[in-house]
């Protein structure tokens, strides 16, 4: 072979370029620790998603410390859940699978991006250092409504984040003079214990309870309401635990005009 010396030099330069590219990618894997989506999370039967230990209930789960798991099911043309909230400073592992065709789970403006292939589970671990709000979109064609498939990922400041769920059980109507109670259940989804205060405001009255819940536990709260003090009429009430609020209205009716009271 008769190769010109300039072309030989270019051949060497081209090899340097190629090796340099591979070296850069390898640096990305070893230095900043970027890992590829792989086969670690295994396969899944799309017909069994609802009974699957991971995807039966989707959403954010606390694993302990700053580690969270987010389970997402993609389907035409939405994500379940469509809104995800995680704290800043967390390390979040996403598990995503598809109920129907191929989708993607792509967090806009970040390097969080995976194909979601039916039959497979995509697993990716991401560190969220700073609070922020990111769109989620599907970048693989998945039918005529493909362009409407989106979600939202919010990274909230660490001290504003919890996995507390509040639900209440209260009567709509009560006769004046009778004792009544407003009941609440507080669920703590975090692995860590929760110490906080529950406040019930009704009319001019205010009741407070200290609440202590173990990790992954729940507490039942009972507020005895003094209907005499409230007097007859409509009374709006609000039950607050940290940032969570439940509210309702309690009607106190006097015995004399209470023909329709039937409690």
């Amino acid at each position: 072979m008769n190769i010109h010396k300039y072309e030989k030099a270019w051949l060497v330069a081209a090899m340097v370029l190629i090796v340099g590219f591979i070296a850069t990618i390898t640096y990305g894997a070893v230095g900043p620790g970027i890992a590829m989506i792989d086969d670690d999370a295994g396969s899944i039967d799309p017909n069994e998603i609802s009974d699957h230990e991971r995807f039966g209930e989707t959403g954010v789960e606390h694993l302990g410390g700053n580690e969270y798991e987010v389970d997402v099911v993609a389907q035409a043309w939405s994500y379940s859940p469509s809104e995800i909230e995680v704290p800043a400073g967390s390390e979040v592992t996403f598990y995503v699978t598809s109920r129907d065709v191929t989708h993607s789970f792509t967090v806009v403006g970040t390097n969080v991006n995976t194909m979601v292939v039916p039959g497979q589970i995509s697993e990716m671990t991401v560190k969220f250092d700073e609070p922020g709000e990111y769109g989620i979109l599907c970048n693989e064609y998945c039918g005529q409504g493909h362009h409407t498939m989106e979600g939202l990922l919010t990274v909230v400041p660490e001290d504003e984040f919890d996995l507390t769920e509040l639900s209440t059980d209260a009567p709509r109507e009560v006769e004046a003079g009778n004792e009544t109670t407003i009941n609440a259940t507080v669920n703590n989804g975090m692995q860590d214990g929760l110490e906080t205060t529950a406040t019930l405001e009704i009319g001019e009255q205010q009741y407070e309870r200290d609440v202590t819940i173990d990790g992954e536990g729940s507490a039942e709260l009972t507020f005895d309401v003094d209907t005499d003090a409230l007097g007859a009429g409509e009374h709006d009430w609000t039950l607050t635990v940290d940032d969570h609020e439940e509210s309702g209205t309690l009607s106190v009716v006097s015995e004399t005009d209470g023909g329709d009271t039937n409690e």
């Binding site: 072309e7 270019w10 081209a14 970027i34 086969d39 129907d100 979601v116 292939v117 362009h147 939202l152």
Partner: protein, 586 residues
């Protein structure tokens, strides 16, 4: 471009030499142009729709348009032109006709029938009278399911191209009997090596369609493994881009030096380049699946290494082709370190079109290097960046080279003079400018997360946040670029149509290609040992694909876990569609 020949026999056009073959080639070129005309026009519809400049179709129909655009341009336009050029290359360089012209017509007709089947099934997406559905894009990822006619059409088209390859091989074998001791002429060598890797890579998509997708669409089997058919698609899906590209490379190697007034710098290196493409085109497909679950990182890394080494033949080509052009320029009186560039025949549309196509391919080379990078795919995968990339490669390096080549080829196969060289020169320039606007804007949009393959990249809950510029400015560039490209397309088609109405001309240049500075005698004979290179290519494919495929089959099953077909239309509740499909495929 006045070309004269010293040899007395060859002041003849291709039509004079091979009138029967010229007819098939002309038919193939016109099939290609028709696909280009329809596909290109649909591209304008998409560009205006996506950017919200002009929306006159329903967003749900956008995907029918996109499927047609992808298939017509990426498959039909490119491959019809390829079979024309390769038939020209083999017969011209061997100086003999095909063995049996009826066989040549047979594969051409088979490809046409395949195209029509695919086209009609796609049209079913917007025409109610056609009870077919094929809104599956050109990747047809299961479990999106097309009408069986779509898959059958694809198979016919591919088998037609296989027979075309067989035709070239038969012609070469016949020539070899007559010329036992000669080296394979370079154009034939290029056509044969390209055909070999085409056979190798299309096995994957043939397997995917014939064993899995077609029986599944016919209801013979109930389920597919989507990751398996997807992997088989990409086994074919990257090599196909080299299949489109090789005729353009052939033009750059054997026409550009001649048009520049020089000779090919190195025939041996050209052979090395095509051998490298034969070896490496196929075991790289997994680089389209860097972000797929179910494939281990190690396999992705191997695919990346192969892909990066596949840069080598392209980088070598850049040098050889530019050096050949420089040789021509200097023979034409060009001087200086870079002053010779002025001596190139820039007024020749065939030269300028190919040179600009090559320049854009240099830019495409860069975005391709990014695409090849494994972890950087988190940034660019399935974003508009990728669309910008392949509008530089198939949309310019290939398409513009083909259009420029047509300005030379159509006179050669029709015996008619090109209607207007000025219009042709303007056309290649307008295409270049249009693509500069469109492609650069697409690349930038991809970097802030704008997705590809979507009718309305405008979302309810969030906005894109470009670091530089605005979304509106990017959309404007894409729309402007698309309009310019459509204008260029119209200029091209007008010139082609009016050329075919021209009178026969007897002042056409002879059917020749470039000579060489360093000829095949400078290269070892082993380069022409096609059996050896094919064997090594097969081994590389086995090494690259056995383990990933085995692990995909092991985890998901050969036919997957009861995954039926989906045809997700917006009018119906997807949940209902899901149920009805499950009923059809229990």
């Amino acid at each position: 471009m006045e070309v004269t020949r010293m040899s007395s026999t060859a002041s003849r056009t291709y039509l004079d030499q091979f009138p029967a073959e010229a007819k098939v080639i002309k038919a193939a070129f016109w099939s290609s142009f028709m696909a280009l005309a329809i596909g290109g026009l649909l591209g304008l519809v998409q560009a205006l729709h996506r950017t919200d400049v002009l929306r006159f179709i329903d967003s749900a129909d956008y995907y029918t348009v996109l499927t047609a655009h992808g298939i017509l341009l990426a498959i039909t336009f490119t491959i019809f032109f390829l079979v024309g050029i390769f038939t020209w290359a083999v017969t011209t360089s061997l100086d003999r006709g095909v063995v049996d012209i009826r066989f040549t017509w047979a594969w051409y007709i088979m490809m046409v029938v395949g195209t029509i089947l695919v086209g009609v099934s796609i049209l079913g997406g917007v025409v109610d009278a056609i009870p077919m559905y094929a809104d599956v894009l050109f990747t047809f990822y299961a479990p999106l399911q097309a009408h069986p006619a779509f898959y059958v059409g694809l198979v016919l088209f591919v088998v037609g191209s296989w027979l075309a390859g067989a035709d070239w091989f038969r012609t070469w074998w016949a020539w070899r009997k007559e010329n036992p001791d000669e080296r394979i002429p370079l154009p034939t060598f290029m056509a044969l090596t390209t055909t070999l890797f085409w056979y190798l890579c299309t096995l994957g998509v043939a397997l995917s369609i014939l064993v899995f997708l077609l029986p599944w669409s016919l209801g013979i089997v109930d389920s597919v493994n989507p990751l398996l058919t997807r992997t088989l698609f990409w086994y074919f899906g990257h090599a196909v881009v080299y299949f489109w590209l090789m005729p353009a490379y052939m033009m750059w190697y054997i026409m550009l030096p001649k048009l520049s007034g020089g000779k090919l710098f190195s025939d041996p290196l050209a052979r090395v380049v095509f051998v490298l493409f034969l070896l490496l085109s196929t075991p790289v497909g997994i680089h389209h699946q860097y972000l797929d679950p179910g494939i281990a990182e190690g396999y992705k890394f191997i695919a990346m290494t192969n892909t990066m080494f596949l840069l080598l033949p392209s980088l070598l080509t850049a040098f050889t082709v530019v050096a050949s052009m420089e040789h021509g320029a200097r023979q034409r009186g060009g001087t200086g370190y870079l002053g010779w560039l002025k001596a190139l025949p820039w007024r020749d549309p065939v030269f300028t079109g190919m040179a600009l196509a090559g320049l854009m391919f240099a830019a495409a080379g860069f975005s391709g290097m990014i695409n090849a990078g494994m972890n950087i795919n988190y940034l660019v995968h399935n974003s508009w960046w990728v669309v910008g990339h392949f509008h530089l490669t198939v949309g310019t390096a290939v398409a513009l080279t083909f259009m420029a080549a047509a300005y030379w080829f159509i006179p050669q196969v029709t015996g008619k003079e090109l209607w207007s060289r000025q219009l042709a020169l303007g056309q290649v320039l307008v295409w270049f400018v249009g693509m500069t606007f469109m492609s650069n804007a697409m690349h930038r949009a991809g970097l802030f997360g704008m997705p590809r393959r979507t009718a309305e990249p405008q979302y309810q809950g969030f906005n894109f946040d470009p670091a530089v510029g605005t979304v509106g400015e990017i959309n404007a560039q894409v729309a402007l670029g698309a309009v310019l490209l459509t204008v260029a397309l119209a200029m091209f088609l007008l010139n082609m149509v009016l050329t075919s109405f021209n009178d026969d001309s007897d002042s056409l240049p002879a059917n020749t290609y470039a000579g060489t500075l360093s000829g095949p005698e400078d290269s070892p004979a082993v380069l022409d040992n096609l059996k050896l290179w094919t064997a090594i290519a097969v081994v590389l494919v086995i090494v690259g694909y056995t383990l990933p495929l085995a692990s995909i089959v092991e985890s998901g099953g050969l036919f997957g876990p009861d995954i039926g077909g989906f045809q997700l239309a917006i009018e119906t509740d997807p949940a209902l569609v899901l149920e009805s499909v499950r009923e059809v495929m229990p």
